[in-house]
Symmetry: D2
């Protein structure tokens, strides 16, 4: 059994980790860290776990935790892990960080977008960006995985093959993303009250959301050069789910025609045909967040618009699963040599 510790176990992403790890046959949860609920029964904070989880919430004693755990998940605010990480901890346990601390290779970009001084930039270099379908081999070797953001996972995977194969002009990429409210966390803020979110739709973080540089960096690797992307997140009155609608100009064939649907599809197939957790939908069927809810799937499809010369790509995932806890477990499975889908055979719940 792999012994797992979670810091930040009472946030929504942390709670989803608990739910998934509870059902993972090779994992035992040893540490439920939650500074806000120390000594309270975990199941009193998340009553759904009543009679399933007996333990109490513990403080964030990472030094002690690494002694007890083989793997540490940090579902914590930005800056936390960077501020406490030490070389010795990485020798004692593997780390999967759900925050952004080690996602960006350029510390200056991190500091600029997050407005935090990075406390341990020395670990950035060896941290692996844990987008399993793209960095699988590196993840297997990693001691520290930077688990991608929810929006970024969806945004990157939806466009990646077409950028990698040079079918679209990466600099024309516009990502209009819509997220359920669990993405905003469990903090008690007026903006996230039921009556403020319900029956409402809004954009936020316009041209300034912190997932932007993460998308740009990763898709830049695919493009083979630095790119900029327009990214606009929106808050949707639903609990879970992200839908990314992405627009880009198609690069014409040498004969001046646009690549056709068969060509585009073949490229998606090339990259994702063997991927269990990416479902390329049938022609004319477009992703809906409800069809992936509760599961680790990303559903993807596209539509060519010859009138405008653009392609519209769409991707959907559950922000708490493939967008956070599910992908973290997928990374753990890779790091520990388990079957990649172990504990993740979650059937989407409908309705």
């Amino acid at each position: 059994m792999i012994k797992a510790g979670i810091i930040g176990a009472t946030g929504y992403a942390g709670a989803e980790l608990v739910r998934i790890l509870w059902g993972h046959k090779d994992v035992e949860i040893k540490w439920l860290g939650s500074r806000s609920y120390i000594d309270q029964k975990y199941a009193s904070v998340y009553q759904n776990m009543f009679e399933l989880i007996e333990g109490e919430c513990l403080d964030d004693n990472i030094g002690e935790l690494v002694k007890q755990a083989d793997v540490v998940f940090t579902a914590t605010p930005q800056g936390f892990l960077a501020s406490v990480m030490k070389e010795e901890y990485l020798k004692q346990a593997k780390f999967i960080d759900l925050s952004a601390d080690y996602r960006l290779k350029d510390k200056n970009i991190y500091e600029q977008w997050y407005n935090i001084k990075h406390q341990s930039p020395q670990f950035i270099k060896d941290a692996v960006y844990g987008l399993c379908e793209i960095n699988r081999e590196q993840v297997k070797q990693a001691d520290l995985v930077a688990n991608p953001g929810c929006y970024t996972t969806c945004s990157i995977l939806t466009a990646y093959p077409l950028i990698k194969e040079g079918l679209i002009d990466a600099d024309t990429l516009i990502v209009d993303a819509k997220s359920g409210t669990s993405g905003a966390g469990r903090g008690a803020k007026v903006n996230n009250l039921y009556c403020e979110v319900n029956e409402n739709m809004k954009a936020y973080g316009i041209a300034s959301h912190r997932h932007t540089p993460e998308i740009e960096e990763q898709l830049g690797y695919a493009a083979g050069r630095k790119i900029t992307v327009s990214f606009t997140p929106h808050l949707v009155p639903m609990n879970r789910g992200i839908l990314a609608t992405e627009y880009a100009s198609l690069i014409k064939n040498p004969d001046g025609s646009y690549p056709d649907a068969a060509k585009i599809r073949s490229v998606y197939e090339k990259y994702y045909g063997g991927e269990k957790f990416i479902r390329l939908l049938e022609q004319g069927v477009f992703p809906e967040t409800k069809w992936v809810e509760g599961s680790n799937y990303v559903d993807i499809n596209f539509k060519i618009d010859e009138r405008t010369g653009r392609i519209i790509m769409l991707g959907a995932l559950d922000n708490l699963v493939k967008g956070a806890a599910g992908q973290a477990v997928q990374n753990m499975n890779l790091m520990f040599g388990l079957a990649e889908s172990e504990g993740l055979e979650l059937v989407p719940v409908f309705p």
Copy 2:
């Protein structure tokens, strides 16, 4: 492997059966019956099952189905199974009927409340009412199980121990129940449109809902006499979940005092202490539908109100799981001698 056939596989309860049976290690789904979608891919009707279920929807050929299946689930409109059932089918396969056809022992009451003539009353006698926690031993022996209604499962289990032990006056029982909209089915009706249900709350079937005689019959067995119950269902703008708020007058102790909370709790413990799928919540914690969503649990608790001499009992379950498909699988497990919780280790999803 148990071979299972489902008639009515494209309703919400049928789809939930598919979801649960897909994850059941001892079951193979052999037949996805759906008159409305014959020859269409099941996954095109329920896109969440894309790449999980390959088959197509089949017609309701029950004669053929019983040859291929060990167990037949009927998630069909009232009257369907009664109209096609034959003695020989029961020799070929076990039946679990999610409709009301064999729930009521008195055919006249069935005909009166459902306004349908019962086509095969001869099977009523041997049908077992599949409320597992109460009729476990009979279910094990049954060839035909009448799977209880969603409201009835919740309503009965919430009050059962107190009636059985004579702590409340059964004739004062009032059940005010609230259900998510999946209980109304997937039929295309104006009343169930998003804009009609959303931001709305209403009662329906007032003093006339067809689950009433089912509650009365079963709780009547517990009371040892015929009883009448006030039952009012309500439609709630949410997908899943039933909450039953039940009121009854406490029967005083010989010394004129009311039974106290410890006494009441001990009675619940007596009946449910060993039940995996019934969670008696801690004192002061009351059921919320969200805490059981997606799972087979019933959460129960109570509050004594000495001012009025009443007790308020509360129960919550997921209408599609413990209220339909989950309980059907629980019944199947009992009928086939499997562990009762096989395939039902579903952790409630939150949020």
Copy 3:
């Protein structure tokens, strides 16, 4: 023009007062009190009022306010008005208090249920309970109106005529009420976050909610004696609306029969036939909260259940309008001799 001041203008009830008074042709809003947002533009707190309300939020300087205003609305936490009220203020302005401070005639009951010491019990006696349809004449003379609670308005009006006329046994009255989330206020609490309320249904304040004694007192007046009532509120995932489902035993006619629907209806007509804001629905049509949303209406109907000897009464209103701000304005109209419906010709919005 009547000059109005609002203390607590940035809570949901306060904001609804602003919305309604803005459209009231005889009223000018002179004071938008909000301790939390002092000096901020009101429209920056409630962006819906952008370009409609120019003013800024002011502190709770009641001494100054009574000099500027003819009427003061207090949409404040329990205990606030009682703690600041002075005899002289009542000489300078009329008061309509949306809190519970002067609703209960027995100060001990107030202190027991609210767990607050009443700071100015001397004003209780002359305060008028502002349930307009019942206390219209007293309201017209009042200087201080205790505006009823949202649940209480709905609960009382739904049962009042039948209790008043002795058709039901008041001590058997059970009120099972369901409310939208705006009733919980705009405070930043985890329990009221979108993800906690959405897709969830729960009871709260079971056998202990503070609107209970208010219902008991007022219906006690109708019954002509002290009564106790079972009252259970529930939180519904919607913004606005209260639905009360009320159960009571019918009192038989001298000949042993139950009063029939025509009789019951005639009694409702007797009390409400001339009431603009109470709509007794046609036979077989039952209240839904959506049909009154945004308006000052209370929709009411009933169903006799001869099987159990009970009647089920149902009432629906918008908790922020007839349950709070609308009724407050209705009281103001009465107090100032205006047409009772002035500013309240609000058509329910659907969908």
Copy 4:
């Protein structure tokens, strides 16, 4: 009093017309047409209008209707009005058509996108596109107004000034729009059931939605040339509201710099500064659908993104008010020489 007739009075847009016209002091509703509900009381179809509207639904007898009415609103399926319109009707009454029949000047484009043969193209030329803020003077003279689509009103108004003034490259315009479900109408379709829409987010009509040519035509007039636009609508789990997020490349100043926020704002002010129903929000405040719900407002703002050289423009409106019935009444006011905002002083409802 202006006598108004409505054909299609029981759809959501028709019902909103009824709600608004009911409160319009210069209008009397003479005809509630609804083929599906002939002879039924209107208030039994829309129970919110109980005791407000007494009449019954009538058949679509347009010949009779024009004799009784001064203005006819058609909230009907595409093709209806075109199939019945006659020259003589236009002499008897003014027409405001909420369908698309006369919106597009090029009949071929209509026939191609709507897949209907246009039955009366001779009326297209004189029909005025009723986007009041842009075509005010023509509307005043019109006998037949083509009331704009919900998406189109929002999409056009949000970008119009910047295209008109040549600040953005019209061919780079991408409109990602999100709509509440009332836009899908009241037809009984599985796709619009509560359980299918709730907790779900999806795009539809990708690169093929019929509002696309309408946006292109109108913004083409502003650009002074034919343009193509990418338009993607999405269905949001809420009743009302449209949010349009629009992306375009800024056209650089002669010195190579981008136009700054002050410049952009001044252009919006130039066109909308005097418009009552367009609210240009303060810097940094972005539109949310909830802030305009129930009202005739369009809220607009923008953000310059120098990194990508794009501007993000956002607009929000209530699809049933400014996106349909409200704008229709605004057009009527103009056509009859009334104050433009008569009957439209609707304060947005929050929450």
